[in-house]
Point group: D2
Chain length 335, copies 4
């Protein structure tokens, strides 16, 4: 309450809290009166009370999310997207591959290369969210068929992005894990749709999303009955122009504290600059990430998208042993 709130205003707020079905608990202070709300089993919309006379501010104490929280479930959730490819346990699987599926030759070369280097899963976009409507938008169904072909050839699990409900059905048909991109993190219709599909979901953090919002978006998926959600830190928007995004690795320990869900890291989008990907991949493993997703392309200089942040196959092959050494240093393994 404001420091000049009247007893009538304080009584009115208490009455309003009672009318909401909760218990008000006035706490007098030297400068002002605070009124606690107790008895709520979860978050309460306090905007009505905030609008009452004499109210200075509403301070939420209870966390707004529920099933994703560590308090709801103490043990780490382990999400498997294929035989031997599980996120949230001791192993740290690496998902690698090109930004977009371009041709059969390209995706097979990428898949064989990253498999040989030690990756556990293949990434590749068939539906691409591009800032410009005139940029390459992906091969669609044909891209998914090529990913399935690459899986048959290599045994790698397949991760691919969906941008809408129709696309999600298709991705679910061909891939092992449906990716929701950063721009769609708060596309709630899509989150509900993938929640209903029941396939593992890789949910990327939005460019300006708080960790709380990321967890609430995961809650949308889980609320539909699908608890197989892998979170992903991929960089947030900042003002420095020397990198494409600011890779917020503190998200890894913060999520581990608040939630039982696994969280992986994407150093490719996290930096946007090829020559910084290896350093940030190492840092991500050291910070406790439950997996990595890295863009690798057989010929980055001819890539139709994200060429500047994609590793060459040889670079990726040199990186994996470094990651193994770091993982070993903290009692984990790669893959």
């Amino acid at each position: 309450m404001h420091n000049n709130a009247t007893p009538q205003q304080i009584d009115a707020v208490c009455a309003a809290i009672k009318a909401m079905g909760f218990e008000p608990m006035p706490m007098p202070g030297a400068q002002r009166m605070a009124i606690g709300l107790v008895g709520n089993a979860g978050p309460v919309d306090g905007s009505g009370v905030a609008a009452m006379d004499g109210v200075a501010q509403i301070i939420p104490v209870t966390k707004p999310f529920k099933q994703v929280s560590r308090e709801w479930r103490k043990e780490d959730t382990v999400v498997a997207i294929g035989a031997g490819v599980a996120f949230g346990g001791r192993a740290v699987p690496v998902i690698a591959g090109p930004c977009s599926v371009e041709t059969e030759e390209q995706i097979l070369a990428a898949a064989r290369g990253v498999k040989a280097a030690g990756a556990s899963a293949l990434r590749g976009g068939a539906f691409k969210p591009r800032s410009s409507p005139y940029a390459f938008q992906g091969l669609g169904r044909r891209g998914l068929e090529l990913l399935a072909l690459a899986r048959r050839e290599t045994g790698l699990a397949v991760v691919s992005e969906a941008m809408d409900e129709a696309g999600a059905d298709l991705v679910a048909e061909f891939a092992d894990c449906i990716q929701i991109g950063a721009r769609n993190m708060q596309n709630y219709s899509l989150l509900k749709a993938v929640g209903r599909l029941g396939k593992p979901v890789l949910l990327k953090r939005g460019l300006a999303a708080t960790i709380t919002e990321l967890l609430l978006s995961a809650e949308y998926v889980i609320a539909e009955g699908n608890s197989q959600v892998i979170l992903c830190e991929r960089g947030i928007r900042s003002w420095d122009t020397l990198v494409r995004n600011t890779f917020d690795l503190s998200a890894i320990p913060v999520v581990h504290k608040l939630s039982h869900l696994p969280i992986i890291a994407d150093p490719s989008h996290g930096t946007g600059v090829r020559e910084h990907v290896a350093a940030m991949a190492r840092a991500a493993v050291a910070s406790g990430a439950d997996g990595l997703i890295i863009e690798v392309h057989p010929t980055p200089d001819r890539a139709l998208s994200d060429g500047a942040q994609s590793l060459y196959l040889e670079q990726f092959a040199s990186l994996v042993p470094e990651l193994r050494a770091i993982a070993g240093a903290i009692g984990r393994t790669i893959g």
Copy 2:
């Protein structure tokens, strides 16, 4: 190029630019060589070249958008969403109403109140994107029917948000203008869908979107053949916790310079705090905004969403004359 780039590397980049169908133009400097790319009619994906040896950075000069740009069309585009309700001309229409449609009584009281005060259009959400899956999600079709009822009663044009393709069809059936919310600004499937529907679109800026990205999202709508797009500044994410968002009013003159599309301002989300809405609404008109969208609720303290930033009807009624005075001072009118 890097300052130690070899002649071979420079030649290779020039050859790559030629292979893309453009003309390389080397510019020797005291410290390094720069290579210009000329002959392009629009933006070029330089990520392939960026990946080549010896390349220090790619600096784009051409703007990435096209049909939304002032260079494409010199005259201001005027978007009418109802009889006498046009954005982009001398008049500055005000869209007002509650965050969500809640009941017949509520929406009719809101509609009559804002109409009497001088509003030109009614806002009200039937589909609500809420951070939490457990928060009120809107009345859906029933909400749209109530908006249509309010339009019959008052003559106000109706603006309502769509969150997916199915919802967009429904909104298009009942409303005069389809709103795309900030969280969906880069939901390209939805942008294409409303582009095909042909109804006026109110496109809100995303929380971390640059003006360039906002314009590119409008380009998605226009590329489908629908040029009736109204842009909207509604606050961007920042670190200050005394406001909900940072209202970036410089977006108004920046958009007017770059694009022929009208841009309006939303001081309710722009600040998130009721007592600051009036000051920011006045500032928006003074900055040259082509319209306003303001949350007004007959009983904000009982609102199901956004109560803390909704004006009381009496506050809105006092604000409109202030806006008229400001508009008059810069040669415009309200409504």
Copy 3:
């Protein structure tokens, strides 16, 4: 407290609060226990308690600042920097002039021009904080002498920036108001020094400063016994590259609510782009700013600093009548 905090942990926290001289007030909730701290006359450093077992988080309720607050002093503070040049009353004075004092001819031309157009005070830097050590750093004492000359010629009050204690003494000797720039907003040694000098202080908001931090920096000046502080919004750092800074006009009503100090706006640094200055200056007056500070240069294309955001004298002369019209619309005057 954490939801699994033990009674022992709760007791320990209560004991710690008592040991700090305050009263603990436990508030049991359905999910967790909260413990209020009452009896404090001002902000309390809770970091010790935050470190105790079982504590989930510390939530401050009392504001951290004191003498700058509206609760400390209800009436607006009016700061006069010259005869008839007062900030915080009904009038809205305009400070105008070049970024840097360059030559006698330049500063006199600027002073005469802005005086004729309606400005009340002259700005001009003699000590310039430049990102690069190799950029023009100002004329120093000679610049201050030229400002004093311009004051004698025109009667304009003079505002100039100080970067360190020695410079502050000099600026106090020659100018009517000492400016503390954005980069020095948290240079506490300098704030204390200008607090002791007793001259009016123009305190600019830092690029990443919250409003609370701005007010706390003003508190540093006032705590030394100098309450003549004028605050200034000048744009904060954001990610959009089409403007140099993001002009956060909501700072105007937010400061007016929290503090009795006047706050002015700097649309030149707030946008960094000359062609957007006029729109943002109009918006600032409409939002309730208590003054403006605008960069104006007789020959911006030859300016030694900030040329791209400085108005031509003719542009400034056209802007003032627009500002008068806006000010009149909200019951204020310019100058």
Copy 4:
């Protein structure tokens, strides 16, 4: 140039570039004319040209800094602050200790504890920049004397912050390395002062500083003849409230690419939350940081400042072996 720039405008810009002593190089494009500026040995202030008719924008290609750049000096600079304590080589020294020097007992306990655990240097503030003028401001000279005592007892090198010129002289007298805090990163008077003192300088990145600005601030120190500068990433301001700052580890590889100066990381301020410090310290070493600075306090729950982010001595003792393992995995050593 704008796409409708006239030949006269283009000629005028070319003439202006020539008048500045450089060579203009026109590059015609399909949409617009670009004019390159060649022959400059360093950064050029283009604001005058930006102000000319027909000019659309100025795009700088040359980097604005000079002596700090990797192009100026290819080999890594190694900065030693004590016998066997060198930053920039294969070893990764750890600086540890309390935020503030509080008492002889406290600083000696801290020094002995961190020394035993493996730290190479002791941190401790005698002059504290606090947001509030009413918070503990440090012991001043007495604090520095206690640090010197702790050095005699343990052999640890000593790092302490200076906030103004007078303080810098004192710190230089007692400590081995002068720290410039984040809030003073652009306090150019202070940077010049420590440049003249010739002692090693630990320069922390400001809360909203770009890497380029950090390097330019280092350039201020070097331009005075002192090249012993250690840079430090300590978190930047962001919107997430679950951490105090956003720890931008990509600064490590970015600085290593651009500059020959060593860069260390401060995971204590970088996160602001004790329980996340260890994960981020490991990540920093993995990313290639040349050192760490970590807040450690014998009794964090009774600390006068930063208690919530300070490690207990036992936590620090457990962390160092983890850091050794990570360092070993990338071919480096701790200390």
